[in-house]
Symmetry: C2
Subunit: 181 residues, 2 copies
DNA sequence: ATTATCTATAGATCTATAGATAATGC
DNA sequence: ATTATCTATAGATCTATAGATAATGC
């Protein structure tokens, strides 16, 4: 097993732990146990816990691999709902913890904005320097992920997926189409 | 100084620390220093760190003391924006951490939903058992607070307060008025 | 020979408690 | 006398490192 592979094993073990328990709630030993190696090796290969966090924490949302005919507002919402249904990792739900729990929250916040806002601006085709609509869309996606994942108030019992995509997608699309912003 | 008062001093010191740094990121000593007492006294008066967290963490949003003529969607949004402008404590921004960082996240999540959803249902006048619209409104407020506070992507430079209240208030009001939900 | 990994442990926390002292009310 | 508060410290972590051993490639 080369270093590359072991390092990847450790990062893969670290990611969900950091996401679920945060920086302080996750120990090097937790990660080592999950990866099946000694804590010393985790330290050796990652340098420090803070560096490991930086390396492990995903810092941008998953790409949309298949730009369909659907309007981008609905498409973005559908992706979040489908990830809930399949239990996949949800960047938008983890982002608040990644900022708040980072060893240096201010830097984490700035980095996050830098990566995420232009990305969404590209998806919705916004070209203004302020990227106001992209910022609003990011806000809406953060809320949706909170409701679906962190708080689980938008359960399938409370609202079925199709209806949710229709209603919430309409909100996102309304922002995208808003000429006043 | 009676116990009541010292206990309150400690809780007031603990609240912002827990909110900013989370449960694991805040130590009894931090709280003791902020309150100007010894760590031993903090322990004595609070029982344990977990109990202190329970006692200190606000578990519901601030009430709306002045129900105006304004439509509830705009009113709810305006309150969040104004708290940003005045730098006041924002329940909706802290709620994710309170759930995630709680000693028992599952219980914290259930409690949160139990308190918050009926509250918002009352504000918007929803009486269905599922409270689907209240859940959607909570989701939108969580997003707004994330965008304003946690990520600071909705800065006054990016969008001025009046415009934000108008645009985001319209979304919340759209959900409140949505007959399909 | 070099790289990968482990054991053992130092040094620095952290929560919690025991027991002492200072302040308060009768 | 009782309540409020402190000092001192036990016991349990946690990160990080030093030095030893096992595995690998030449």
């Amino acid at each position: 097993m080369s270093e590359r592979t072991t390092r990847e094993t450790i990062l893969d073990a670290a990611r969900p732990l950091f996401a679920e328990r945060g920086f302080n709630g996750t120990t090097i030993r937790d990660i080592a146990d999950a990866a099946g190696v000694s804590p010393a090796l985790v330290m050796k290969l990652s340098g420090s816990k803070a560096e490991l966090f930086q390396a492990a924490a995903p810092d941008s949302p998953g790409l949309d691999p298949d730009p369909s005919e659907e309007l981008p507002g609905y498409r973005l919402v559908r992706a979040v709902v489908e990830r809930r249904n399949s239990g996949d990792y949800e960047f938008w739900a983890m982002a608040p913890y990644l900022v708040q729990e980072a060893p240096e929250p201010e830097i984490a916040r700035a980095k996050m904005t830098e990566r995420v806002v232009p990305r969404i601006a590209a998806v919705i085709g916004e070209q203004t320097p302020e990227k106001t609509r992209a910022r609003m869309v990011v806000t809406l996606l953060l809320g949706l992920a909170s409701g679906l994942r962190t708080f689980e108030i938008l359960t399938p019992q409370a609202i079925d997926s199709a209806k949710l995509i229709e209603a919430y997608g309409a909100l996102v699309q309304k922002i995208i189409d808003d000429d006043g912003l």
